[in-house]
């Protein structure tokens, strides 16, 4: 006779999931996302190839034209690319979430006694690793090309701000991932949002060279503030108004989009 399990009718169970369990489930899901990344390293292309390629490409392509030399252009372009790659990486969150939700394994997760939200929060937590890779690689590339920051603390804080802003923005793309039907659709819409935001942000050229109407757009683009804050941290090693505006703006995005994403997700999941 095999060992007997406790009969279902005799079990004392709670109909709610504790916060501790939610955190633990989310971390397990984050671990799962990291395993998936290890299994399919192509997923890291956007945070490895892109920062390396863009840094070198833009520095040599525009350096002479915009700043007279590559070295002179680096203080403009490196903060720009730093913010841009981290934020482009956040787009991947939505695409991967959509792909994941279409997999059969999601059915099992849904029937398991776990915090449902963990399948959403896990990947979002794991993506911090991706943003950190993107940020780190951009900094290394910049350094190799001759870029020097004013203070190590400033550079570290700049890296943190990029990662944090990217993470906050990833909730927007996560929402797209939840409500759109296919991964391609998520990719398309995300790119359409991201390209104007990242290029029209003062990331690549000094804003004053632009026509007035474009300057207006650049000035209301939240990414401009992140880029300016990062630039100030690198070149002067100081925290200015742009830093606080970026931080507050990022937090506002999370406060608005996290509940929207969670609600849409819980309805679907």
């Amino acid at each position: 006779m095999s060992p007997q399990i406790v009969p279902g009718a005799e079990r004392k169970l709670k109909n709610r999931i504790s916060l501790q369990m939610t955190v633990s489930n989310s971390l397990t899901m984050a671990y799962r996302t990291l395993l998936l990344i290890r299994r399919t390293p192509q997923q890291l292309f956007d945070v490895t190839i892109q920062p390396i390629l863009f840094t070198v490409m833009f520095a040599f392509l525009f350096g002479g034209a915009i700043s007279g030399s590559v070295t002179g252009y680096l203080p403009i372009i490196i903060p720009g690319i730093l913010a841009q790659t981290a934020i482009t990486a956040s787009m991947g969150t939505g695409v991967q979430l959509r792909e994941d939700m279409d997999k059969g394994v999601f059915y099992r997760f849904k029937s398991m006694p776990i915090a449902r939200i963990a399948t959403l929060t896990g990947p979002l937590v794991a993506d911090i690793v991706r943003y950190s890779i993107a940020t780190g690689l951009t900094l290394v590339m910049g350094y190799l090309l001759g870029f020097r920051w004013a203070s190590a603390d400033g550079a570290l804080l700049a890296g943190f701000l990029s990662v944090f802003a990217a993470w906050c923005l990833s909730w927007v793309f996560a929402l797209l991932g939840v409500i759109m039907k296919t991964a391609q659709a998520v990719q398309g819409i995300s790119a359409a949002i991201l390209f104007p935001l990242s290029f029209l942000s003062g990331a690549f050229v000094p804003t004053k060279t632009l026509p007035w109407w474009l300057q207006d757009f650049v000035n209301v683009n939240p990414l401009t503030y992140v880029v300016s804050a990062v630039r100030q941290l690198f070149t002067q090693g100081t925290v200015g108004a742009d830093f606080w505006l970026s931080l507050i703006g990022s937090i506002v995005i999370v406060l608005v989009f996290a509940p929207l994403t969670l609600r849409a997700y819980m309805r679907k999941a």
Partner: protein, 332 residues
């Protein structure tokens, strides 16, 4: 069950693993589940038998909290599936039709993650994963990603995933569809082991022989309804007739043999092939008379056989909708 009185009824209720009343699930105009009642006693193997599209999987999805019922109610060990979802999920495990494992990860990784989600530590989870892989004969493939697994291997891993922590109620949605005969028998053994250690099994199947082999009780599902319920013997008795097949040594005798069969058995016999006469067999004793009558008429037989009712016949008989059921039975 009705005559057992109040005490019997009360005991019966607390012993039920699944209890559903008037369960309804609608998709657009399609009433996928249309008023299903189920009473599944603890400790049994219960089969939902029906063709593709009968609503079996939708019933499972409602009972496992994946879908909210549009009407009626269902309880798992006394806990409502709509309001006590978290309790219900702690009492069940589900093995789906499409193997619900992550093909981008290895077998070990899949099992370890499920184990960790169920509250095991990472080392406990990987230990349990290793045990299960041995038990299901997958240890050689432990490190491979599942896209290199065969369908049968995936199915076994899927079942192993449901057993990391053995649940009191285990749902198996078509556990053997598409498996080779050997793997199918292994799957049956695993299912019996789960029951022996205290779990209740609710499985769906399209195969009468599987329900026959495994299930203590069977509910036949068609068009989202339970059209019959009982043990396999009761169902076959209700479907009625086995078929008597008489293959003649000489096909010239066919017309005469048909006439004699109709006369002796008092039923309508038919002649599907030149040398084959078939007749429904309601009273096995009268077959002796028929065989004697045929010998007297000097009609020689090549073979005599009795055919049990098939799934097709079960449906034709139970749905009273011959053509439709036959068409779908053939597809299934």
């Amino acid at each position: 069950m009705m005559q057992q009185g109040i005490q019997g009824q009360k005991k019966q209720q607390s012993d039920l693993a699944v209890e559903a009343h008037g369960l309804v699930k609608v998709f657009g105009d399609n009433r996928a589940v249309d008023g299903v009642d189920l009473s599944i006693p603890t400790g049994c193997i219960y089969a939902l038998l029906g063709p593709n599209g009968a609503g079996k999987t939708t019933i499972i999805n409602v009972l496992t909290t994946l879908l909210k019922p549009d009407g009626g109610s269902a309880k798992i060990f006394g806990h409502d599936v709509a309001s006590e979802t978290q309790v219900v999920r702690q009492l069940i495990s589900v093995t789906g039709q499409s193997a619900a494992v992550d093909e981008r990860l290895s077998a070990t990784e899949n099992l370890t993650i499920f184990g960790m989600l169920l509250g095991l530590s990472k080392s406990q989870a990987s230990k349990r994963a290793a045990e299960l892989l041995v038990e299901f004969g997958l240890e050689d493939a432990a490190k491979r990603t599942l896209d290199k697994f065969s369908g049968g291997m995936r199915r076994r891993l899927d079942l192993a995933s449901s057993l990391i922590v053995q649940a009191p109620l285990i749902f198996l949605d078509e556990p053997t569809t598409g498996l080779d005969p050997r793997t199918r028998v292994q799957m049956w053994d695993s299912i019996r082991r789960m029951v022996a250690s205290g779990s209740t099994i609710l499985l769906t199947t399209q195969y009468l022989d599987e329900a026959d082999e495994l299930a203590d009780r069977i509910a036949v599902i068609d068009h989202g309804r339970v059209v019959a319920e009982g043990t396999s013997r009761e169902l076959k008795a209700a479907v009625g007739k086995a078929t008597l097949n008489l293959r003649l040594a000489d096909e010239k005798d066919a017309a005469e043999a048909t006439r004699i069969a109709q006369e002796v058995l008092d039923v309508k016999a038919s002649q599907p092939e030149a040398n084959l006469v078939t007749a429904p067999m309601s009273d096995p004793d009268s077959v002796t008379d028929l065989l004697i009558a045929l010998r007297d008429a000097k009609i020689h037989l090549a073979t005599v056989s009795v055919e049990e009712p098939t799934l097709d016949e079960v449906f034709i008989a139970l749905t009273g909708d011959g053509k439709d059921a036959q068409a779908r039975g053939a597809k299934a």
